[in-house]
Symmetry: C2
Subunit: 375 residues, 2 copies
């Protein structure tokens, strides 16, 4: 794959225009674009512009309903349940985390679950919404089944990411990770490059370890068995049941506590059914938030300063790589693959937008910035 870097502001303008054209209001298009591009800024290519095609197809097929508005169907002082009515996941997520934050501001804690939504982008975006307000943020989502439970051979849980954020210096703590060993996006990249998968990632139809990316992906799509291992692999010896357990916690805070669709039944037929969970906690529930922030920051510093493994010169605390990636991408632009550029061309055609007015003749114009290989 070849990559070209485009400026954040160009991509933001393009993205906002795209979602405007799809029928979203300017304010809505702004939120959706911010979620997508924050992923690219964090260096998480899989959930950024690369995902535009999925939203394009979702809207085209009617799985994502452009005019749907999230509805609060249950509420207490510290909690709420939202029905997303099959709307755009990013808008529902933004709305739901907004409620969690409001409740945390007044009562110290807000826990909000969501049913009948769609893919909402990176879980970390919503956790960071709380963090930017000085709160502890937590966000999780289920998804189409991709995780094979320990000793099983059929995918029953989603990649079920868990994100957690908390204010710290010099950068906030941000943990955002699937509860599978890797996400499906990683398998897709290995498949596109024709490379065998690393050991310990995927299972075949019989539930045996498998390094053939194309075969695994084909089986996942056709639901013929196999999928991705939980964090910890496929054996209890390496903690498979632990990754499976974290996947369950994600499922509980998304689908179970919203009375929504569990991962094993998501994205079957014409509805997505994806569920999310959000929590915001005010650190002042436990004392002086500034002291707590300092206490966390100094522990993070101790971790970074601790002795490195032979051959390593740096230990990264969670959120550090994202902070570095933002710096790089705001300065040098966001790298977009040629495959994504083709999908962008298709979106432009579908929406009757002028590709050249945004990207020019992108290969020849940006030739100096083109590089090959796995970015």
């Amino acid at each position: 794959m070849a990559y070209v870097r485009f400026s954040y502001s160009l991509l933001k303008r393009f993205c906002t225009d795209v979602f405007n054209r799809f029928g979203f209001s300017s304010a809505e298009a702004e939120i959706i674009s911010d979620v997508l591009l924050t992923s690219d800024l964090y260096g998480i290519e899989s959930h950024g512009m690369q995902r535009l095609v999925r939203y394009h197809k979702g809207i085209e097929k009617g799985m994502i309903r452009v005019n749907a508005k999230p509805e609060m169907v249950f509420e207490t002082a510290v909690s709420a349940v939202i029905d997303g009515h099959d709307g755009m996941g990013q808008l529902i997520g933004y709305y739901a985390m907004g409620i969690a934050i409001k409740k945390a501001r007044s009562g110290g804690v807000g826990i909000v679950t969501v049913r009948e939504s769609n893919h909402y982008g990176i879980a970390g975006y919503y956790a960071m919404m709380a963090c930017r307000e000085g709160l502890i943020g937590f966000s999780t989502t289920n998804s189409e089944a991709i995780m094979v439970p320990t000793l099983g051979r059929m995918a029953m849980l989603g990649s079920n990411p868990v994100a957690f954020a908390m204010p710290a210096d010099p950068f906030d703590l941000l943990f955002d990770a699937s509860t599978t060993v890797v996400t499906r996006g990683k398998l897709e990249i290995y498949n596109k490059c024709g490379k065998p998968l690393p050991e310990g990632w995927a299972l075949d139809r019989e539930g045996k370890p498998c390094i053939d990316a194309a075969y695994v992906l084909e089986n996942i799509v056709s639901r013929r068995g196999g999928g991705i291992m939980p964090l910890g692999g496929s054996s209890e010896l390496t903690g498979s049941h632990k990754g499976f357990g974290y996947g369950m916690i994600s499922e509980i805070f998304s689908s179970v506590l919203s009375m929504g669709t569990t991962s094993n039944k998501c994205l079957q037929g014409t509805k997505s059914g994806i569920c999310h969970g959000f929590m915001a906690i005010d650190p002042s529930l436990f004392g002086d938030p500034d002291e707590i922030r300092k206490h966390l920051s100094s522990f993070l510093e101790a971790l970074r300063d601790s002795p490195k493994a032979e051959g390593q010169d740096r230990i990264f605390t969670h959120g550090e790589k994202e902070a570095l990636a933002i710096e790089d991408r705001m300065k040098n632009g966001i790298p977009i693959s040629d495959i994504t550029m083709e999908e962008i061309r298709d979106v432009c055609e579908y929406l009757d937008m002028d590709f050249r007015s945004y990207f020019g003749d992108y290969v020849s114009l940006h030739e100096g910035n083109v590089f090959r290989g796995n970015y």
Copy 2:
């Protein structure tokens, strides 16, 4: 190692007598014994009677203060911070989770953090306290440093277990696991048997994978580097940063939000400094708790009924193995190793208790129940 099985009621009586003799009230001795023996009933030998020696030594050295009473030092409607004043971890944990439960009953949520405590036994015990009241329970603790952060070579976090429980049928969901690949107890068992460690568990002083249990344990104790890998191993390829991230969440809900001692500074000198975190959530914050319980139970059933990996005939959901172990141990007794029996003899001698009046001449009397090997 040889094992003898003793009845739950005998061990409960013995254990309660022991803690009474150590100076705890009858009610306190009852709680401590219940935490210890619940671990044995769950089949978690490492945290049951096998740990008696650690509490014995902790009390003897003054690290555990028998007369200390936990003190609430900060409180809101949904939260509290407890100072354990170096008391017995089980009593502090029981008290703190009791407060979390009370707050969840009145306000829907209770989050309680604890500083200046000691080892509190199995995290799952406290999560189950909430679960038995129809609530969602969460419990975590830090400990002496044992987890090496990704790309590091010095243990900086504890085994930092996270436990989560929620009412379900036919048995409750109970997830209780360290955020390291394995606990130190597992390394100790391999060491006692003189077996090499499985790949992917431990690191040597230079931060390189190491299968020599004795060497790793020696380095951990002397803090010369090395330790246990986070869940996900030592490489980001297998998700090491994810286990490290869950370890961080545990650290935040125990030491950071209580302004307590972080794992890298626990158990150095004459104080333990161990911190805990507890949360109870009322499922009725999200609708009808009976419907939610049914929804969870049917997803758990779907998981158990899903196709098995080749050569496997059963998928276990979290809490199922514990339910099976309780059945077995209440019927057939709790297996105690000969090493633990020797430690029990020492405790009896120290406390001037008559070993024979509890256990008789245990080997000859229970010869029919003796078996060898790793139970």
